[in-house]
């Protein structure tokens, strides 16, 4: 099964991590920015560090780049300890959030800068610069200065410049933040293509979960200095480890309740919210009466006017709010006890009138394997 292990090297214990962050702590005076964090990143991954502002993701990135030194712990790149190596001696390049283009140099000179520092022969530099200009599609703009370029063009210069030296690892600090939505989406795919084409390992920092989900091979979710979950986008979305993670990515419904036991169909939860017993196939061992939560994504809640023909997991409520975005409709359904659940579905039939409208009495239903049980 070697094929699987090259696509998902983290599952294969024989594969050695390319970047090993071992028990790294970073303190700024009394403030702990990174708390005993350990992480393995593999070659050719497109790894995202995702989290809210202030969670420490940028600090971690800067430690990889060499602009901060860990207070404790080590960082290994391809087996070598780089924790004390200054940034200009690391085979790592970074694309800055502000792009940080040299304002007094042309696009060409910006891209050539790193190569000049390596004292490469002139014609080799010229070739490489041409290659990069083509890669980021800026060949006609070679002689322009940064202040003569648009935001999107500047971003590409920054990308070209950071790839010119063919680094082993490329770090990207919120690279798409300043772009408008369309350009952002376009650039996301371009980044993925470039990464595959050049075979470079990317580590990207972002606060935009959609972006992380789109581009990443794996996501490292961070919160105030530590990693809450490291997994593929699918795993994070469908199998979050706790409510914070579930809530951070996408929308989710929580049903709170107490553990009732388990049977052949799965875990039973005596839910106050739902005022009935609900079921999930996930097997969870817990003490009877212990507080647990069911998490169900809105797209997995079926909504209908007719009572569904199932035994369990049926709730009744009234549509309170509808959010119509063209392709999807999202319904806020108020249950009898006041709790509001969110259900959404694709508008598969073309119809100008709403099939379900405000104040409609509806039934919500989900399949037992659609929900997961969270202990925290």
């Amino acid at each position: 099964m070697t094929e699987i292990s090259t696509i998902e090297p983290w599952t294969d214990s024989s594969q050695k991590a390319y970047i090993e962050i071992k028990n790294v702590t970073k303190k700024f005076g009394d403030f702990t920015a990174i708390d005993n964090l350990s992480l393995d990143i593999y070659k050719n991954e497109f790894f995202s560090l995702l989290g809210p502002s202030g969670c420490g993701k940028t600090t971690l990135l800067r430690m990889l780049a060499g602009f901060e030194k860990p207070t404790e712990g080590t960082i290994l790149l391809d087996g070598e300890d780089i924790s004390q190596v200054p940034p200009h001696l690391r085979p790592i390049n970074m694309m800055f959030q502000s792009y940080a283009l040299f304002p007094h140099m042309s696009v060409e000179k910006n891209i050539a800068f790193g190569l000049k520092q390596d004292k490469l022969p002139k014609n080799e530099i010229n070739d490489r610069v041409e290659e990069m200009l083509e890669l980021v599609q800026l060949t006609e703009f070679a002689k322009r200065k940064p202040d003569q370029l648009s935001g999107g063009q500047r971003q590409r210069v920054a990308l070209g410049r950071s790839l010119a030296k063919r680094p082993k690892l490329l770090l990207l600090d919120e690279p798409l933040g300043a772009l408008d939505k369309r350009l952002r989406e376009q650039t996301q795919f371009e980044l993925m293509n470039i990464q595959e084409k050049l075979g470079v390992t990317f580590v990207i920092v972002t606060h935009d979960q959609e972006e992380a989900m789109t581009v990443s091979s794996r996501i490292g979710l961070m919160d105030t200095g530590y990693l809450t979950q490291v997994a593929t986008p699918t795993e994070i979305y469908e199998a979050p480890v706790n409510r914070d993670v579930a809530d951070f990515i996408g929308d989710v419904n929580f049903l709170e309740g107490t553990y009732k036991g388990k049977n052949e169909t799965g875990t039973q939860l005596d839910s106050d919210d739902a005022k009935c017993v609900v079921y999930a196939t996930q097997v969870t061992a817990a003490d009877i009466g212990r507080k647990l939560w069911f998490a169900i994504r809105p797209e997995k809640l079926e909504i209908s006017k007719r009572k569904p023909d199932f035994e369990h997991n049926i709730l009744k409520g009234k549509i309170e709010d509808i959010s119509y975005t063209g392709s999807m409709s999202t319904y806020h359904v108020k249950l009898a006890n006041g709790k509001v659940l969110t259900a959404c579905r694709a508008n598969r039939e073309r119809s100008v009138e709403h099939q379900l409208t405000w104040e409609d009495e509806v039934y919500l239903h989900w399949l037992p394997h659609s929900a997961i049980v969270l202990q925290s």
């Binding site: 001696l89 970074m94 502000s98 940080a100 950071s162």
Partner: protein, 260 residues
């Protein structure tokens, strides 16, 4: 909505009149045939001619030029380093004292600075001359340069330096290849500021100069004490003219740089 009222306009006109009328009178009367300031005897450039024959003024001008060029260049060097240290070097031992030594000379009365430097030169048995005046000028000029550079550096984007480091440039090279070219306008205006301060200084030069190193301001001052003559007006007009050309050129270059 910033309404520029008639009151504002009047204020500006009066203000600029106040600032410029004395200078204009000075220039006008340098072309006065008559020796008296209040009587217009006709247009004449004879005082400029006398000026050209006045060796002591020419010597003083030469001393001033030497001192001004040397001191501004060295002051710009030192001041730029100081400005960098103040903004980018964070906390270090003795920072408060350093900062104090940068700001204090800007407000300190010149008599105190002049006196203290002279006393030190005497105590160290250093002969006073062009060198001591230059040393004195460097000392107070560098503070002004430091403040100008500091002000520019506080809005400097550090990530540009980081990008250079990241691409393999050593910190030392980064300063010369990246930082310096970017802050060059501020450094140049620091140089111009030092040059003007040196050109203009009377008090400190009086304390710190020696025989044979009379500066132009010192010469003018001694002439003024003897009485007002149009020759002084002439020398003043030349200086004003030079400075005006310098400032206007400087601001044109500054504007052109901005639009580029």
């Amino acid at each position: 909505m910033k309404r520029f009222t008639a009151f504002n306009m009047t204020t500006l006109l009066l203000g600029f009149a106040f600032l410029y009328i004395p200078i204009i009178i000075l220039v006008v009367f340098s072309f006065n045939e008559s020796k008296l300031v209040t009587v217009w005897g006709g247009f004449s450039t004879k005082w400029y001619g006398e000026l050209m024959n006045n060796q002591s003024i020419k010597d003083a001008a030469w001393v001033t030029a030497k001192v001004a060029f040397t001191s501004s260049t060295i002051a710009t060097l030192l001041g730029t380093i100081a400005g960098l240290v103040m903004t980018k070097f964070g906390r270090f031992r003795g920072r408060t004292l350093f900062s104090g030594m940068i700001y204090a000379p800007m407000v300190m009365p010149e008599v105190i600075i002049g006196l203290s430097l002279l006393l030190m030169f005497v105590a160290l048995s250093i002969d006073r001359g062009v060198m001591t005046v230059t040393l004195a000028h460097i000392t107070f000029s560098m503070c002004y340069v430091a403040v100008v550079v500091q002000s520019r550096m506080s809005s400097y984007d550090d990530s540009i330096n980081e990008a250079a480091l990241d691409l393999g440039c050593t910190p030392f090279k980064t300063f010369f290849l990246i930082t310096l070219p970017i802050i060059l306008p501020a450094v140049i205006s620091g140089w111009l500021l030092s040059f003007t301060l040196s050109l203009d200084d009377l008090v400190i030069a009086s304390f710190t100069s020696g025989p044979g190193s009379t500066t132009l301001p010192m010469k003018i001052y001694s002439m003024v004490r003897l009485g007002v003559t149009p020759e002084i007006n002439a020398v003043s007009t030349i200086l004003v003219g030079l400075v005006a050309i310098g400032v206007v050129t400087g601001s044109f270059i500054g504007k052109k740089q901005k639009t580029n």
